[in-house]
């Protein structure tokens, strides 16, 4: 039976993990490669490196980080952040990434999804979408796509569900849907959003934004119909281990990959 995936996400800037990670007493808790290896050993099913680097010099560092990680960690690795061209994607895939995740660049140039899928295969292209609820209270739920999330998110005018459908038509092989309303709140994923996305497209959906407990991850899968759950701080700060989450899910009938003791 296909298992549901648990995916830790590491934010990397200039080759260092930001928002430090304290779950492991490693000599270098800021080294993304050491952390990737630690998460692999802890039973992560996949890893995401999200590059929040601004300059192109720093982006070259990311290529080295991916190369070093790929030589040591033999589970699927997705790299996202700042990839604007097919050539950017190629550099990361050649360095050892299995998939690339695109967000703002795809909104600005949807052709990038199709070009990437044609060159590398749909299985390499993850469309990442930041969505915020925009319906008035009492209205049916509706979500809009934003880019440059952070202090000054920019509205795109795109409806999230329509954009995701289009992205899959263009060749995106997976969707990572991040609820801006839930992100950082630790109150659970936006289950309505997850359900709407899962119902809209035939490709795997990765839930992102809002997980604070294993129960939230269970809800994302059982009620939101997500194929995978992505989380950062819940794991990084050692609140829960991957094994804790897998035990919780397994006890409730969700198939998970067994973590070797």
């Amino acid at each position: 039976m296909l298992t549901r995936r648990i995916i830790p996400c590491l934010d990397v800037k200039a080759g260092r993990v930001v928002k430090g990670v304290s779950f492991v007493n490693h000599r270098d808790a800021g080294d993304p490669v050491a952390l990737a290896a630690a998460y692999d050993a802890a039973g992560a099913d996949e890893l995401v490196f999200y590059d929040i680097t601004a300059s192109s010099d720093e982006r070259a560092i990311m290529v080295e980080v991916v190369e070093r990680a790929a030589a040591q960690v033999f589970i699927p690795l997705t790299v996202g952040g700042g990839l604007r061209t097919v050539e950017d994607m190629y550099r990361m895939l050649r360095a050892g990434a299995d998939k690339v995740s695109i967000n703002t660049a795809a909104v600005l140039n949807p052709q990038l999804i199709e070009d990437g899928a044609k060159r590398f295969g749909s299985q390499c292209i993850v469309l990442s979408v930041d969505a915020r609820r925009v319906n008035a209270p009492g209205e049916p739920p509706r979500w809009a796509v934003f880019t440059h999330t952070g202090a000054n998110p920019r509205p795109t005018g795109l409806d999230a569900i329509e954009w995701i459908r289009r992205g899959v038509e263009l060749g995106a092989g997976e969707i990572c849907i991040n609820s801006m309303d839930a992100d950082g709140q630790k109150t659970g994923y936006d289950l309505e959003l997850l359900r709407a996305v899962s119902a809209a497209v035939p490709v795997p959906v990765i839930a992102s934004g809002g997980a604070g407990t294993p129960e939230h991850m269970y809800q994302g899968i059982a009620e939101g119909h997500a194929d995978a759950v992505l989380a950062a701080s819940i794991f990084h700060f050692g609140e829960y281990t991957i094994a804790d989450v897998k035990r919780y899910l397994g006890e409730r009938g969700i198939p998970v990959r067994e973590v070797a003791p």
Partner: protein, 223 residues
């Protein structure tokens, strides 16, 4: 004693090479039919479509050579599409012939399976006659491996099916015939179980440079 890892442009070639190096396999990356013919063992990686892969193998003069190295009894490992092209034919993007080393047809996973492609970790159950096969040494029955595929190998001869996986239907995820082995999953992305399978293959092929741990033992660094 070197394994020829065939370079025909497959997207997973670099990661297959990294994983084989990690388990101390001696290898040569090559697209030269003469090198493949003289290698002690062969690994055929693969990602993508069978038709594209066949075109690439034919253009490089490898399509004629691969059946020869298998017939000569050289240890051979096909991975994902590198497994699928071993069959007689594929239905992907219109029926077309493949290498014909193994009887059977490459067919699409049933829509009833749910999402296609299958992406993620799924269990491999050993066929009883293969449960103690050295390719599986140190890997418990029912272990999870990482799959990314829309098509599967519908193999004619059930006696060569060494491992099976369920996704909408039960399909052959490992075939073994004499020194020929092929896997539908990606051992290079299947964590310690995948590395162990590659280590076992390299050991069978006599192509490990530094045999530091006994086959079957999984050291901590490799997890």
């Amino acid at each position: 004693m070197s394994i020829a890892v065939i370079n025909y442009g497959a997207g997973n070639l670099p990661n297959v090479v990294r994983a084989l190096r990690h388990v101390d396999a001696d290898l040569t990356v090559t697209d030269d039919p003469a090198v493949v013919l003289s290698a002690t063992a062969v690994v055929l990686p693969g990602v993508g479509a069978t038709a594209d892969t066949m075109r690439s193998l034919e253009a490089l003069g490898l399509a004629a050579v691969l059946p020869q190295v298998v017939a000569m009894g050289r240890p051979f490992l096909g991975i994902c599409v590198g497994m699928q092209v071993l069959l007689r034919a594929s239905e992907e993007f219109g029926p077309h012939p493949c290498l014909g080393i193994v009887g059977g047809t490459v067919r699409r996973l049933p829509d009833s399976a749910g999402k296609i492609p299958q992406i993620g970790w799924n269990q491999v159950r050993y066929a009883p006659p293969f449960a103690s096969h050295p390719l599986f040494a140190g890997i418990p029955d029912g272990s999870d491996f990482y799959f990314v595929h829309s098509y599967y190998c519908d193999v004619d001869d059930p006696t060569i099916v060494a491992g099976r996986t369920e996704y909408g239907l039960v399909f052959p995820s490992v075939i073994i015939r004499d020194h020929l082995a092929a896997v539908q999953f990606h051992p290079e992305k299947s964590g310690r179980c995948g590395l162990q399978l590659l280590r076992n293959f390299a050991t069978l092929a006599g192509s490990r440079s530094r045999v530091s741990a006994s086959p079957g033992a999984v050291s901590r660094e490799e997890r």
